[in-house]
């Protein structure tokens, strides 16, 4: 009897203690961040930068966060990847400092206070499965393939094989950029709408006759990156402006950069520095000057 009673009491007290301690921890954390973001010292930055947004910018965000945190050990950056629109929504709601978007901001987003800071340019590669003999696709052919006017590779100089049109879901930054660049917004007839970059790669790799599009920097040797209008999808060509399919990577802030916290300003300064530019180049993106 007594043991049971004791056990019950213990359980209740344990619950109370854990609840109380959880509360205590939370308020402690809050006060920490408050004091640090309020501190004036610029040489010794301390605090957190939160960013959320495009899954296409995952590589960029992670690499930048890692390098920046190595340079400023007092700063913690925590990137999340929830999609371009969700990222902008989050920065406008004030839940994160930076909203990543792999597209230009919409007018509604700009009028709500989001500022478009383009940090890099990304190329979109048209990918084919390894067995495909086609190496060059013109803009017109791409349009015809993606609107369903052509459904066999023989029409573009390949083998007699059906075309499986793979793309991203509505709302995806890559899809928006791709369709806009080709001028076929919402005229596309996809047979596969896949909601991740990796998914598109996997589908194209495993399906004979498939065509898809992904960020240039994630293309590997499991697929063929086709030439577009005779131009190879390379960094030089994108920088030179001859490659058709490229898009901006935006790190949006609520209000101008100069109105942001010291840490966020330092991050943008870092991205504009030579060191930051090297970093952006190292992951296959193109810097803006």
């Amino acid at each position: 009897m007594r043991i049971k009673k004791l056990a019950a009491l213990l359980l209740v007290s344990l619950l109370t203690v854990s609840v109380l301690s959880a509360c205590g921890k939370k308020s402690e954390d809050n006060s920490n961040t408050n004091t640090s973001s309020g501190s004036e010292s610029s040489s010794d930055l301390k605090g957190t930068i939160t960013m959320a947004g495009s899954t296409s910018m995952e590589k960029l965000a992670n690499v930048v966060a890692e390098a920046f945190m190595a340079k400023y050990p007092g700063v913690t950056i925590s990137p999340e990847f929830i999609g371009s629109s969700a990222g902008i929504e989050a920065v406008l709601a004030g839940t994160v400092n930076i909203g990543n978007a792999s597209r230009n901001l919409k007018d509604t987003e700009k009028s709500s206070g989001a500022v478009e800071n383009i940090v890099a340019i990304d190329g979109i590669a048209v990918i084919l499965d390894k067995a495909n003999t086609v190496t060059n696709i013109t803009k017109d052919q791409l349009v015809q393939i993606y609107t369903g006017a052509i459904n066999n590779w023989s029409a573009v100089g390949g083998a007699d094989q059906p075309i499986v049109v793979v793309g991203r879901e509505a709302g995806s930054g890559t899809r928006g950029a791709f369709e806009e660049l080709l001028g076929i917004e919402d005229k596309c007839k996809y047979s596969n709408e896949i909601n991740s970059t990796g998914g598109v790669m996997a589908k194209v790799t495993s399906t004979p006759g498939a065509i898809g599009y992904v960020s240039l920097d994630i293309v590997d040797d499991t697929v063929i990156a086709s030439n577009v209008d005779g131009v190879q999808p390379t960094e030089e060509n994108i920088k030179a402006g001859t490659y058709l399919l490229s898009r901006p990577f935006v790190m949006a802030t609520k209000g101008e950069i100069s109105t942001q916290s010291k840490e966020v300003q330092a991050l943008f300064d870092y991205l504009k520095s030579d060191e930051g530019k090297e970093l952006i180049k190292s992951i296959g993106l193109i810097t803006v000057d």
Binding site: M1, K4, K5, A8, V12, T55, I82, G83, S84, S85, A86, I88, E89, K106, T108, G148, N151, N152, P162, I163, V164, V165, V166, E169, A170, G171, S172, G173, G176, E185, D186, K189, Y190, S191, N192, E193, I194, N195, A202, K203, S206, T207, P208, G209, A210
Partner: protein, 312 residues
Amino acid sequence: MSDKSFSIMGGYNTKNTVEKVAAVIFIICAFFAVLAVFSISLYMIISGTPAIFEVGLVDILFSTTWAPTAADPSYGILYVILTSIIGTSMAILIGVPIGVMTAVFLAETAPKRLAGIVKPAVELLAGIPSVVYGLLGILILNPIIYKLEMTIFKNDPAHQFTGGSNLISAVLVLAVMILPTVINISESALKAVPKHYKQASLALGATHIQTIFKVLIPAAKSGIVTAIVLGVGRAIGEAMAISLVAGNGANVPLPFNSVRFLTTAVVSEMSYAADTHKRVLFTIGLVLFSFIMIINLVLNKIMKGGKKNADS
């Protein structure tokens, strides 16, 4: 402490407190589930209705064009709803006969040793995560279906090739996924049929097979129907597996078309959707929610009906 504290009189107050505290804890725990259901319903209605007023209920439910990001956006989900209904019914048509036969086998005809293999296999099937079904669908099912598709539509210039990601693949995956539910519940229903039904039937000269189809299955009818309704619930609510194999194009639900289910419509576009588009996705969630509610109501009716039959 003396032994006196063990007397009923001395312990009464503390004992009473413990009882009361325990009762309160039970009530709080019980209300978690109620609270969850209530808040989910409320949340679905609150977040799903704005788009209905914005776009119009008829334009959402009965229009066939899904172009949420177009300059002149259109949010018709008729094909999506039809896909969910047709896909689920086809999965039921394939899965239920197999499931019920398996249940008959396990409950009636299986030799003990064989049942000892089949039964754990079925239970294991129930525990496999749905994403694994989807991956297997991509790796094994899609290439086979693609070959079939290429043979059937070889000379059809109008057909859009899906690479095997189409309604048939989704239906086959769903049919396998509902098997454990159908088998387990049908089997317990068959086992619950009173022994003397079977004995009487056999004594009257019916064969074992005749007894199964004319006596046991009709007697277990309400249990089997429950199994089917739960299977429908599982199939219509499944998202992960079919999002990998269905192709996700909002098309007419024909066998070799790339199709989109209610669940995959929400899942695939939620991460990048904004404004009205996002609100319409919540409305799709609300439509799905109402489907599930209807299925549950039907299930409750059937279960009550079954009880009445058993009582009389």
